[in-house]
Subunit: 315 residues, 2 copies
């Protein structure tokens, strides 16, 4: 089992969906990622919050075994805030307000103990900071993955291309993959992105699942079929947490393990969207993960066992 | 191997996509369906054309072994015509013109020889005609599937609900599934449609693949990853042709066979969209189907063989 370091954002999110709303709930890319990954391996978090950040939120992470010694608390600063809403098409968030606050001057400083972790996830922050984190590592991690978004693709393209040359895996949503590659066809877009550096490209497609290009072959995983989706916020980072958490727990980085990692990422994301903020993850029990992973494989199984063999639950 | 009867439309399509255009090319739901299914089983076609329909088109079907004795030719009538275009988002067609012509007065009359076929596909036509065809069967086929569209869901809802009570399988696209069920969540929509009669609901999602609810379990298949999609016209009917053709060839209608049928349907659809009209299918060789089906299963395989075992084609 390998330690997993994540550098990203911790936020207070205010989110409205057709099914309800939350105000200043726990959020942020590094939060969703580390909570999700904590079900698989030991996670070390580097991020920044203001003095207004509730201590209860930190305790929730610590209770899951997340190492929060790298969480910088800026005296007098305010925590990063995001306000967004979703319509019935839950695939796309509309940002109503972003207050960077302490995130605007964040410069990740890795404690010595974290400079040799074998698994590193650079969550969605300024690519210059992502590059800076990579430079601070005392040795090249076994596996480095990165997430990004339209804001950086458009505004910090050069820095993004620089850091992309040094990572193994990129996780990115489909619209952003097309934008980054400048290519409408998603398959060609994924190949173009692989040409920018990462040997593995994971395209997140929301309710349509994930598509991975690894070792010159595509792997497609559907999203778990859910009858109730309340809030898609954090689904992508939760996916990445399950994906990287699984790989770190196995000490693996080969193509076959990556496929299983996509399944575990999808499983974790499917829980997150069942409630607002991290609420569903807070009440998640370890056995539920294995149960849903099994159901997930059945969902994808071409030569599936019929209901007769499974025990009569069909008609 | 069971005979497969399809009742639907034969058309002359004029289609523009960002990649080119065709004028009055061979099209129609029954055409795509029967050509696709002909790679699996013996297909019998019931449809109508005008006296302007090129004899060459009929020969193309006959050369594939499709029984065209049920193709009615209306003396003096004009063949059904459809004019449509697609933007870079190839998921949705924009209809520019529809001329029903001989289809407006079409009343399928089944020859005696076709009233006992074990597999029946009611392609996308007026649900009252679909019901009429069912009534003409001398005995209940082993498997009846139907396809429909927004036009009938909106304009002939009662007739559609009546025929739905009598079929085993419905194939329908995702937007139309939501419309038919009056339910935004696709999973709940599929369950609601199953409650209307069909024990199997196959939702076609274009570039996102297909989702099937059968025997109380979901099965999700991705679309085959294509770098070039030229024209999505007919993809759904070609899918249905592969799906029903496979089941008829196996004499099967169980859930496990349905899963393999979805794969063959997806494989056939993936060929169709590689060129305009049925052009790709015209040059399709039987071994290509098995090859792509194998690649397709690899695409979905969680515990896939690594590139080492496949022979080094990775990096």
């Amino acid at each position: 089992m390998g330690d997993l370091l994540v550098v990203g954002s911790v936020a207070l999110d205010s989110v409205t969906t057709p099914f309800g709303k939350v105000d200043e709930a726990l959020g942020g890319s590094a939060t969703y990622f580390s909570y999700s990954a904590s079900f698989f391996t030991r996670v070390r978090l580097v991020a920044t919050v203001g003095s207004d950040f509730p201590e209860d939120h930190v305790r929730l992470l610590r209770d899951r075994g997340v190492d929060v010694t790298g969480l910088q608390r800026s005296a007098g600063g305010r925590t990063f805030r995001w306000v967004g809403e979703y319509g019935y098409d839950l695939n796309e968030a509309r940002t109503l307000d972003t207050q960077l606050n302490v995130l605007a001057t964040f410069r990740p400083a890795l404690p010595d103990a974290l400079r040799r972790v074998p698994y590193l996830f650079l969550a969605n922050i300024d690519p210059e900071l992502q590059l800076d984190v990579l430079r601070q590592m005392a040795e090249r991690p076994r596996l480095v993955a990165l997430d990004t978004m339209n804001f950086w693709i458009q505004g910090k393209r050069e820095a993004l291309l620089r850091v992309l040359r040094e990572v193994d895996v990129i996780t990115i949503n489909d619209a952003e993959a097309r934008q980054l590659a400048g290519e409408a066809n998603l398959i060609r877009a994924a190949r173009a992105i692989a040409g920018m550096g990462p040997r593995v490209v994971v395209v997140k497609r929301g309710e349509y699942g994930a598509l991975m290009l690894a070792e010159d072959a595509f792997f497609a995983a559907p999203a778990y079929p859910l009858e109730s989706v309340f809030d898609p916020t954090g689904a992508g980072d939760t996916f990445a947490g399950g994906f990287m958490g699984y790989l770190a727990s196995e000490g693996a980085s080969d193509g076959a393990s990556m496929r299983r990692a996509v399944v575990y990422g999808s499983v974790m994301a499917s829980f997150t969207v069942e409630d607002f903020s991290l609420n569903r993850l807070f009440r998640l029990e370890q056995p539920e993960i294995a149960e849903r992973a099994a159901a997930f494989q059945d969902l994808m199984q071409v030569n599936g066992r019929g209901p007769e063999e499974r025990g009569a639950r069909g008609r």
